[in-house]
Symmetry: D2
Subunit: 162 residues, 4 copies
């Protein structure tokens, strides 16, 4: 499912394609006794967003693991910087936006946001690495190609990838 962003950036620079977006409903399990969503629950929502972005690009986590062998690999989160701006509430229907912000040799930078309508509740910068047999690996060429479709200016061959 692809929910198009409510926010239409109008700046002059190439904003890149619209971020990938999924809908997430808030349930009892996501809240805590303070009455709002428990802060770590947003990381679960962000992870769902990344998983669905990868699935949309043809990458299934179960398959990655099941393949085994020397081509087997998986993604691990290396770092996150998260701003919790406003709380989400029970029953809220949220949007989780995920965009590839930068592609390095062995890591992917993603920019993610959780919104209620057009209101940004949480934003995060997430760095993900590719690991095989316990070691960081270079991103395979076709993975870079698929992920690069989500980059701003991805049609520009001169784009510098950090």
């Amino acid at each position: 499912m692809r929910l198009d962003s409510d926010e239409s950036p109008t700046g002059g620079a190439d904003p890149g394609p619209a971020p990938h977006r999924i809908a997430v409903r808030v349930y009892y399990e996501d809240t805590d006794f303070s009455g709002v969503v428990y802060h770590a629950s947003y990381l679960r929502f962000f992870e769902r967003g990344r998983t669905e972005l990868l699935r949309a690009l043809g990458i299934e986590h179960k398959v990655i693991f099941a393949e085994g062998g020397k081509d087997s690999f998986h993604f691990v989160v290396r770092s996150m910087a998260i701003d919790f701006i406003r709380p989400a509430l029970m029953d809220d229907m949220l949007g989780v936006e995920t965009a590839v912000a930068a592609l390095g040799g062995a890591s992917i930078e993603m920019a993610q946001r959780i919104l209620r309508g057009t209101e940004v509740l949480v934003s995060a910068q997430v760095r993900i690495a590719l690991v095989a047999a316990g070691k960081a690996r270079r991103l395979p060429r076709d993975l870079v190609a698929r992920l690069g479709q989500g980059l701003p200016g991805h049609n520009d061959p001169k784009v510098t990838r950090s």
Copy 2:
């Protein structure tokens, strides 16, 4: 979203209406290191199913709590009997079926199943009570009427409610 059951009961007795059904995707957060879904995660899926059944009947949890006052109430799970038949896996798209099995004066019996296609993975009998100001309460008449729509033989005025 209402996904009609793949299973069409064909028995002579009134099977009641088709159970309410939601779709649930399995993510990293739901699994454990044994490689399959963590057993307590199924209870989260079942709770989502019950919440969506109640929402479909016009009952929102946030509203119930926010109303406060003497009419404020909430639901609590009193007991569960669960059979874990087959494990669900990462990336699985599951169906969660929820049906009202019986209505008592102060409690609701629900029958729930988690399926992958037509294969039943987990089944549960769940007893829920209505609580206000810390005490069990009789179910309000209009709630009984709305929930009773989900009962087998609910058009039969002689149906005995345990």
Copy 3:
């Protein structure tokens, strides 16, 4: 052993050894917006209790998995019957009691309780099976011997194991 009795069973029959017990603190993560502990959190507490009972008997889950090979096996929960009697609250220090109730050829029945002081909040009957290479297995003799130490009348060689 049924755990429905209070702290000090006084009956004439051998009550068996005292159940294994761990302490569990309630944190934000365990509660939900209704203000008390989320019902599925108790299953996490019960699982911690079973894991610590097995550890006390010399059985480490990580080791079981890591061993691999033909002797590799793990435990899965087959069924649970749970009574949620009273809610636990944020900051509560709880006790989780676990006792082996019965040993079958390929499964273990455990009786568990969650208490706040001497007050029983939740009780559960849990059936666990031993699985290797995806199939149920007979319990190894030395595992039965170790688990049997927790059974009532375990010094009686004529004890019938269901």
Copy 4:
């Protein structure tokens, strides 16, 4: 206090008191199907560490909420920067270190680390705000005094609080 140094800081500057420390065992619930601890689980561990630090300073979360009235307040996480350095594993016994790094007028900066032995697995900078009736509030004087005990150089009256 930055926690990037190893166990024994040897610099000439006042390193402040030792960070508060709790022990956390890794259970099934904390892991995911990749075989290691799920990344969001570390946030639950960090939150347990902060809660226990506050409890050690005489601040109970349940009491804060229950008090109500105009003096009622609670803490919310405003931002986190997290480095996931090495994975924790099932059955691991971890240490969670928490130190007050800075005190602002309405927020607290905490530095946290998760260790296995002396090996740092995860580190985080966490900013927490005090909220009452939905608005950020200045930290009460006695709370500042209690939290300030954990600051480096807290005996120095000239310490500047950001």
